[in-house]
């Protein structure tokens, strides 16, 4: 685990922050979001040193040391887990970016079916596969915060980069989508139209994008801490959803999370 006295970290303060980006099983969308840090791209690149990012450049120092390692994607093979542990040792801060890395996201949907069954549906010969249960980054190593969203949210990314440059602790949102929804004055699609909205249990950050666009939230930001998944699942039951439907709602993002399990098992 991170040891600040490790001689490798000496003198790092005086340099531009050294950033590395690693990709595991995912769509690479968060990395795109990063590369196109919208209007801030050129100025950000002046302030930080991207030392490893395969999508951005050839070569790069894979071994570190890094001030910040940003990790995209879920872990689905063992070699990824062992590499991840090395990255942890070489990094001052390690931060998962995007739902895949934060809570398992879409890649973790496969966990709800027997692994071999899933594999057999895709490959005739499964002997050469080495897949394991999909898991988020904090299943394997300690992390120093989460940038949530699928793709990761711009607000949290801004917060992370600014905090890093100012040397302060980033503050991430710790409430649900409903709060943003009400702040924006959107009509509640759950109350008004009986749509099964996941907003009450989903972490904020998107600005209630779906309700604003006349659709129920499908929880792409992943679970909020201390979410009351059971209560929402019971509400869905009352609204006439079948158990299978409720199971799917709570397993689209964050299949392995403790927060959503009580909902999925309703």
């Amino acid at each position: 685990m991170f040891n600040p006295r490790n001689p490798r970290f000496k003198n790092m303060k005086r340099m531009k922050p050294r950033i590395a980006v690693f990709k595991y099983s995912c769509c690479a969308g968060c990395e795109f979001q990063l590369i196109f840090f919208q209007k801030h791209l050129l100025e950000t690149l002046k302030a930080v040193d991207v030392v490893y990012c395969k999508m951005l450049k050839s070569g790069g120092v894979e071994a570190g040391p890094f001030d910040v390692a940003l990790i995209e994607g879920a872990i689905t093979e063992e070699w990824q887990a062992s590499q991840l542990k090395k990255i942890r040792e070489a990094s001052r801060y390690l931060i998962p970016i995007g739902s895949c890395a934060v809570c398992g996201g879409i890649p973790a949907i496969k966990n709800s079916t027997d692994e071999l069954d899933v594999e057999k549906r895709v490959y005739a010969d499964t002997a050469f596969l080495h897949s394991v249960t999909a898991a988020p980054i904090d299943h394997y190593v300690k992390v120093d915060g989460y940038v949530k969203g699928c793709p990761m949210g711009e607000r949290d990314l801004d917060e992370l980069v600014i905090s890093l440059l100012l040397g302060k602790k980033p503050v991430f949102l710790e409430y649900c989508v409903c709060v943003e929804c009400k702040l924006r004055g959107a009509i509640c699609v759950l109350v008004a139209y009986g749509e099964p909205c996941m907003g009450p249990v989903t972490n904020a950050g998107c600005g209630a994008l779906c309700p604003v666009n006349n659709r129920a939230c499908y929880s792409c930001w992943g679970p909020m801490r201390d979410a009351n998944a059971k209560a929402l699942a019971d509400q869905f039951l009352k609204m006439g959803l079948r158990k299978e439907d409720i199971f799917r709602k709570f397993t689209e993002f964050g299949q392995p999370t403790d927060e959503f399990k009580p909902g999925a098992l309703t």
């Binding site: 990709k23 690479a28 070569g59 949907i109 793709p151």
Partner: protein, 418 residues
């Protein structure tokens, strides 16, 4: 075999996803594109999911062409369930898909491909040489992302797009403001063609079959017949009768081939080769100015074809936005069992999705073939020829050429192991 006779490019940079290239110089037959990006089993875990989740899920196959996966899947599901959509939905889908094709081409050209031609390791390293190009890229990319977001709610993994149509249409004023912005980047688009035409493409000729979607009326992206430069002309429903995949031990992506034929190429160059006459006049004129004629058999010119599609796409979007008034509509969906497929032109070429849906609206079977699977065999074929023709060159030069060729194809390995 000695070390000198073998080239291993571990983890090729500046492509979408994870791959290595292995070349044995003595035996060109031993060229392998080792796609080590882990398999992701979308076709496996889509089984058991609801029909209206599929678009959102498959969008996450790829962060650079999410709209393509989403649109292709939704069209396939609509076919399977017998859902019809309005003309407005058809038009909005075309705009959304084109906006993403243009954004994807921009990223590929400037961030992935161009550093090769400036002998730089990446875009950031190339910036001091090409500050104008960087600004052009960012300006245009922002407008195109904004256009996708205008229709989809956000550019990456849109939220408004469901079977039956769109949940919400933004106010007409936003569309006219967008048309202005698009008019504003027309000159930049012409500049992209100039930027790309000024690159020195290696002189290389590949003997390939080109495959693209073609329709009578326009430069089609979401519908039409599957047409090849060697006489294939089939409907989308006939896809499985003609295309088949095989598995290889060194890659998690499958290789697609037309039954009984060796390999084929899809993507911008294939499209330009098949339907150049349907490009916008502006794009055709710029091609003439650049001194290139289609059909063209040099895969490195895929980059130029992409630049022309940027011009074409922007013109088409302006046309569609200015000749239509979009408003909120109801979506009509009822549960119905059935099966159906759809083919669209993703930025990197032909993309196929097929689903079987049961009476409850749940997926029973899913089948997805991505552009990079379609191109897989052709990339290996061209690599072999390229290495053979350049075998007397220095090792570093051969490596650079191989990387350049693979990047010219603009492969997406994340997609390929969906």
């Amino acid at each position: 075999m000695s070390h000198r006779e073998k080239i291993d490019i571990d983890y090729l940079a500046r492509v979408e996803g994870e791959t290595s290239i292995r070349v044995e110089l003595a035996r060109q037959s031993a060229i392998e594109l080792k796609i080590f990006e882990p398999p992701r089993f979308f076709e496996g875990f889509l089984v058991g999911r609801n029909y209206d989740e599929v678009g959102d899920i498959v969008s996450r196959i790829c962060g650079i062409c999410p709209v393509s996966h989403m649109t292709t899947a939704i069209q396939a599901i609509e076919k399977a369930m017998g859902i019809t959509v309005s003309q407005q939905t058809v038009i909005l889908r075309e705009i959304m898909v084109i906006s993403q094709i243009v954004a994807s081409h921009l990223v590929h050209l400037y961030m992935f491909a161009m550093p090769d031609y400036h002998s730089r390791s990446g875009f950031v390293e190339m910036l001091p040489d090409t500050p104008k190009a960087a600004r052009r890229l960012l300006k245009m990319k922002e407008v195109m992302n904004e256009l996708t977001g205008l229709i989809g709610g956000r550019a990456l993994h849109p939220v408004t797009h469901l079977p039956g149509g769109f949940t919400h249409i933004c106010p007409a004023a936003n569309f006219s403001a967008m048309a202005k912005k698009l008019r504003n980047i027309r000159r930049d688009a012409a500049g992209v063609v100039e930027d790309i035409a000024s690159l020195e493409f290696p002189d290389f000729h590949s003997d390939s079959e080109y495959v693209a979607l073609d329709s009578q009326s326009h430069y089609a992206v979401n519908e039409g017949a599957i047409v090849s430069s060697r006489g294939l002309r089939i409907s989308v429903d006939e896809y499985r009768g003609y295309f088949e995949e095989s598995q290889v031990p060194y890659a998690f992506a499958k290789k697609s081939a037309i039954k009984g034929r060796p390999s084929f190429m899809v993507g911008a160059l294939a499209r330009a080769n098949i339907k150049f006459s349907k490009l916008h006049d502006e794009a055709k004129a710029l091609a003439g100015k650049a001194g290139v004629t289609f059909p063209c058999d040099n895969p490195f010119y895929n980059n130029l074809a992409q630049a022309l599609e940027i011009v074409n796409g922007i013109e088409r979007c302006i046309e569609l936005i200015e000749s239509n008034v979009f408003k909120d509509e109801d979506r009509h969906v009822r549960l119905h069992s059935g099966e159906g497929g759809s083919v669209t032109e993703a930025p990197r070429g032909l993309l196929y999705h097929w689903y079987r849906i049961d009476r409850q609206g749940v997926v029973e079977k899913a089948d997805i073939v991505t552009p990079t699977s379609h191109n897989f065999l052709n990339i290996e074929k061209d690599l072999k020829k390229l290495v053979k023709e350049n075998s007397d060159r220095k090792r570093a030069e051969i490596i650079a050429l191989c990387e350049k060729l693979v990047r010219a194809y603009d492969p997406c390995f994340s997609c390929s192991v969906h």
